[in-house]
């Protein structure tokens, strides 16, 4: 049920795009209201979200140390896993963002029978499927996004042409095929199927975990269909996109209803992003277990809301035990 409702929602959205294309006000709706509305919602939402995180103070240094501390000069410290310099922190975050380093540690536990008939054993096996799938998915998404920049830039920068050339290295017959489109579909499908097939993952998943995957699958599918089967007029698409960027919007003309479906899903994705788990991408650099120094005894971390608390003072303590302390030969401050 948790996996079905969001599927229906995405199918509904796609249908709305398909049918909406035939309406008389389609130009206004798809050429103006939807893209601008989504863009504004996205920008306002993501700004609000990041500000809401950034505004909240970090009262304590709660680094998760994943390696040897910096201590004695003859012990080699782990400069990335347990950084004691800002450069180390930058390296740690960069590797985390670019290579999903923490996921690279992933293992799964398994109980195996003992060959000799003794009690079963708990073993850990490398489990890099999630790391690999996530990496393929996210990098494909990045390349696809960058490729789409050509629709919004005139003239198209050379580096984008270079990227396209690389991305379309493989050909099916004479037709260049963008690898990133295929891998994006495969990656999203992998993330979806693992969620459905793994019993414990299915148990913990929410509709909000399936919805964005269906949305992205829908976007990637319609994108591929436009490129490889219905072969939309790329120049017309660029004309429409440039119009949006230059604030001279014009209804997409003569491109076909698939674009409307694609556009609807993209707009929903962008508008939905700041209010969903998809904001995770912005969260990592702010994560206090990853972006602070491991060597927290070296420099004092300030808590802006530190406040005085009630303590039990030494004087009160000695008053209570003075006689016994003296009898035991423990030095005291006051004789009585």
């Amino acid at each position: 049920m948790k996996a079905v409702a969001p599927l229906l929602a995405v199918v509904g959205l796609a249908l709305a795009g398909w049918l909406g294309a035939g309406l008389s006000g389609a130009g206004l709706l798809f050429g103006l209201l939807l893209p601008y509305g989504a863009a504004l919602t996205f920008l306002a939402g993501i700004t609000w979200r990041i500000l809401s995180w950034a505004r909240a103070p970090v009262p304590f240094n709660i680094t998760t140390t994943c390696g040897q501390q910096y201590s004695l000069p003859w012990i080699r410290s782990d400069r990335l896993g347990n950084p004691h310099t800002r450069w180390g922190v930058a390296g740690r975050l960069t590797l985390e963002i670019l290579s999903f380093r923490s996921l690279l540690r992933n293992v799964r536990h398994e109980w195996v029978d003992d060959a000799g008939g003794a009690a079963p054993r708990l073993v850990f096996r490398a489990s890099l499927g999630l790391w690999f799938g996530a990496l393929v998915f996210h990098y494909s998404l990045l390349v696809v996004l960058l490729r789409h920049a050509r629709f919004f830039l005139d003239p198209t920068p050379g580096c984008l042409n270079g990227l396209e050339w690389l991305d379309s290295f493989f050909r099916v017959g004479a037709m260049p095929v963008f690898l990133s489109g295929i891998t994006l579909l495969a990656g999203a499908l992998f993330l979806l199927l693992r969620r459905i097939w793994t019993p414990w993952l299915r148990y913990l998943s929410l509709p909000a975990d399936f919805f964005p995957l269906y949305l992205l699958l829908g976007i990637a599918l319609t994108g591929c269909m436009m490129r490889y089967s219905s072969r939309v007029d790329v120049d017309a698409v660029k004309h429409f996109c440039l119009g949006l960027v230059r604030l001279h919007p014009a209804a997409p003309a003569g491109i076909g209803p698939l674009l409307y479906v694609h556009l609807t899903l993209v707009c929903v994705l962008f508008a939905y992003l700041p209010f969903s788990k998809l904001v995770h991408m912005a969260g990592l650099p702010l994560s206090p277990t990853r972006n602070l120094l491991g060597a927290s005894r070296m420099a004092r971390h300030e808590n802006p809301w530190n406040y005085p608390v009630k303590v039990h003072s030494y004087e009160e303590y000695e008053d209570e035990y003075r006689d016994k302390m003296k009898a035991a030969g423990i030095p005291v401050e006051k004789d009585s």
Binding site: A56, F60, Q69, W111, H280, S287, T289, A299, V309
Partner: protein, 532 residues
Amino acid sequence: MSANLEKPGKVAFNPSPRDWLEPNAKGTPGRWSYSAKPKALQTLDLPNPREWSPDQVDWKLPDNWKEIILHGLKERLDKYRSLRLFMDACVRCGACADKCHFYIGTGDPKNMPVLRAELLRSVYRGEMTMAGRLLGLLVGGRRLTPEVLKEWFYYFYQCTECRRCSVFCPFGIDQAEITMLGRELLNLVGLNINWVLDPAAKCFMTGNHLGITPHAFKANMDFFVDSIEEVTGVRLDVPINKKGADVLFVAPSGDLVAEPGVYTLMGYLLMLHQSGLNYTWSTYASEGGNFGLFASQELMKRLNAKIYAEARRLGVKWILGGECGHMWRVVHQYMDTMNGPADFLQEPVSPITGTRFTNARSTRMVHVAEFTADLIHHGKLKLAPARNDRYRVTFHDSCNPARSMGLLEEPRYILKNVCSHFYEMPAETIREKTFCCGCGAGLGNEECMDLRMRGGIPRAQAVRSVREKHGVNLLSCMCAIDRAVLPTLMEYWVPEVGVAGLHELVGNALVLEGEKERTTNLRGEPLEGGEA
């Protein structure tokens, strides 16, 4: 042993047939802790002191409990970026799920860190976000009901705040932080457990968790001095509350009373004596550990304040700290921020080797393993590792020194110098990936025994593997809670393996000036003839 666990067993994923969003407001016997006694709450001026028990239906909450909790949640969302971020950023990828020893040991999906966090997150969404208020369960939002609150109590007290999940999370989401703040919320309406608040109240009044009075402290030290003299022939001087010492030594109080911790304490005494350090113990700051950490940041601060206050009163130059896990979470990551700056102390320098502990130049507190490793490295301690030859040793990294500090090599360096047979457990179970003993954060009580024995399965299995491979018979560790609870865990799962603190092994190997020929170790066992 009350653990209702068929031994041996494979623990499988064991979900409730109902959706997880439906609260499980009934605890499992053996997996919840007794409620705190009203006296402890009164000592600490905490809200809603009363007699109550989790197995009764009425938890005697204040009438406006919901308002208090929601207000407390809102306040903490504004005070902690960590909480705000951890509420918003989780993608429920599941990487953390089987990194938790309690999930591995119970198969209960709400012991997966992701779902334990969702217990709070669902209320955050359902009560604090527009989408959650409008769409409810559809977006995973729940209203705060008495059942949800009870579920929080059961599951935030089935987490040892060990932070293993946060190592594997791609965003560094730390369930310990969520558990800590969740427990703070529970504390606001008087939902505390006795194993946390009773020691905390004692610590507030007497300076240590066990309620050891100053004269009893002295008597215990005298006993250790006698015991050491019996073994070594050397009578030590143990300074207490001494003004003019260079260094204040603070250790967990558990080592003052119970085996095998007492041997660790004797090890400190021997090492400190032989090093010639001008140091002192304090009866007022007689606790390094801090059960306040398991209740609220405020209580943590109130208990921790004694250490700097006493260092100032005694006029020492810097502070040396003993072997304790969560104590070092507090010292390394909270003390300076909460109760500093320690500008009345000096940057720590070992007077014996001249080493500057630059890594502690602000907090000005050094770990005893750093201090001893430095002594050994400079050849300042004469060691006879053969005296530990009856032991084949492995090392259990405690959660906090590993994941909230990174104290990994120092203890290993010491071990390799004080014993001849040292073997590592499998890589997935040590260092930053170390598995918890299953009893930290206030869960080391008798009533939680089922949970403890289950949560200890990953550690016990790792010990078993080196037991079978290398004949390991001693699990060494650097934490007072470990020393208190691992013997029970070993007895249950790997009965041939004993438990010892790092400095017990140092004490055995250390050759004192003027000592007699040793025939026994600190435990009084003959040096030869151990199982090998």
